[in-house]
Symmetry: none
Subunit: 222 residues, 2 copies
């Protein structure tokens, strides 16, 4: 397995320090200072990601969501704010750990190791759910062997459900992960996306079930 670690950190001194300690520990750190530069990196190219929340360019929390949509790679959050609601939000979005500045490099290293020690999930580039095939890498969906033209948000929603196939996923979790969080005013937005996804799914629409009072669920057969 690779030992590359992505470090997204705008503070130069801290970035150097962490980079060095990662190197000394035998990792291969890839340090990016700007959030926008980190947007389009592929999370699966790394064995772990260390992410500062307070960044120029793209906000750290958005990067986390982005990475989680594509990958199961362990993500450690760095933050200057010892804010509980931030912590909870990050952890719920799938972060594996949350470290508050200031910290000693040794602690960070120890936490990275703790994350890597956990059993890894099979990384699946593609997934089949009944008649629906999803290629996360190509961002491509086929239903009954027919390619679907999904919009970005539609794909993210469907991909999230596919990763948790069979499980009921709450509306909040979907909105939080796949939609722009700025628009929390209307709770109907997700409905519209789901409605359009179903129409595009055609015959397979029945596989996208509503779980009343909770959210949605993608099942093998309708």
């Amino acid at each position: 397995m690779s030992n590359r670690i992505l470090l997204v950190e705008d503070d130069e001194a801290l970035g150097n320090q962490v980079s060095d300690s990662l190197s000394r520990a035998g990792f291969d750190p890839h340090w990016v200072a700007d959030g926008d530069d980190a947007r389009d990196l592929r999370p699966d190219d790394y064995c772990a990601i260390i992410l500062d929340l307070m960044l120029p360019g793209t906000y750290g929390m958005d990067l986390l969501k982005r990475y989680r949509l594509k990958s199961e790679v362990p993500v450690l959050i760095l933050s200057a704010r010892d804010d509980t609601s931030d912590k909870i939000r990050a952890l719920k979005l799938g972060a594996d750990d949350y470290v508050t500045k200031p910290f000693f490099p040794e602690e960070l290293l120890a936490r990275v190791h703790a994350c890597l020690r956990r059993p890894n999930l099979v990384d699946t580039e593609r997934v089949a759910v009944g008649a629906i095939y999803i290629d996360f890498d190509r961002r491509e969906v086929r239903s009954h062997d027919e390619a679907l033209a999904l919009t970005p948000v539609e794909f993210d929603v469907l991909a999230l459900l596919a990763r948790r196939k069979g499980s009921a996923v709450s509306r909040d979790a979907i909105v939080d992960a796949a939609l722009d969080e700025a628009h929390e005013g209307s709770r109907r937005t997700l409905d519209v996306h789901v409605s359009r996804i179903r129409r595009k799914l055609g015959q397979a629409a029945g596989q996208l079930e509503t779980v009343w009072g909770i959210g949605y669920r993608l099942v093998e057969a309708s």
Copy 2:
């Protein structure tokens, strides 16, 4: 499989608080106040362990070592000391997380979930009680191999009883956990839900027993 969590914590107030929040989140906390009492418990009986480092009797770090020798169960460390060398030591010994007091229960919960998210997420989320199968993740219930269409509240009530299978659960506890507590005007609401659950359970209705003057209990066989 199990949703039991071992909590080793000598502070009574904190222990109560954490116990409560774990219960509310659907876990089954087992609270032990003395390190010596925790020595001979089997870590594999729990899905996670929350361990205070500063304990009477056996020192927390020793317990951690002990548990790690026997099991891979996730261990979260609680500590009053924000001491880096302690953190590093604990994490190197195989702890999965290290939380410094004071903390909010929500943060601890989020971290517990972050730990549990990694391993076998799939298989641990079901419970069988006699002829009743409950899949918490899918929010799906089957009775005698037939899927039941339960409403959100009905599912929550039955799920709560299933998690505590065999033991009597008080009406108050159920109402508190599964119903909107705003409506404390009528205490008959729960009856109605139970009545409907029983009807939907069909043959298995007898497994949902009334404990007169207390509440209800879900048993293996009618």
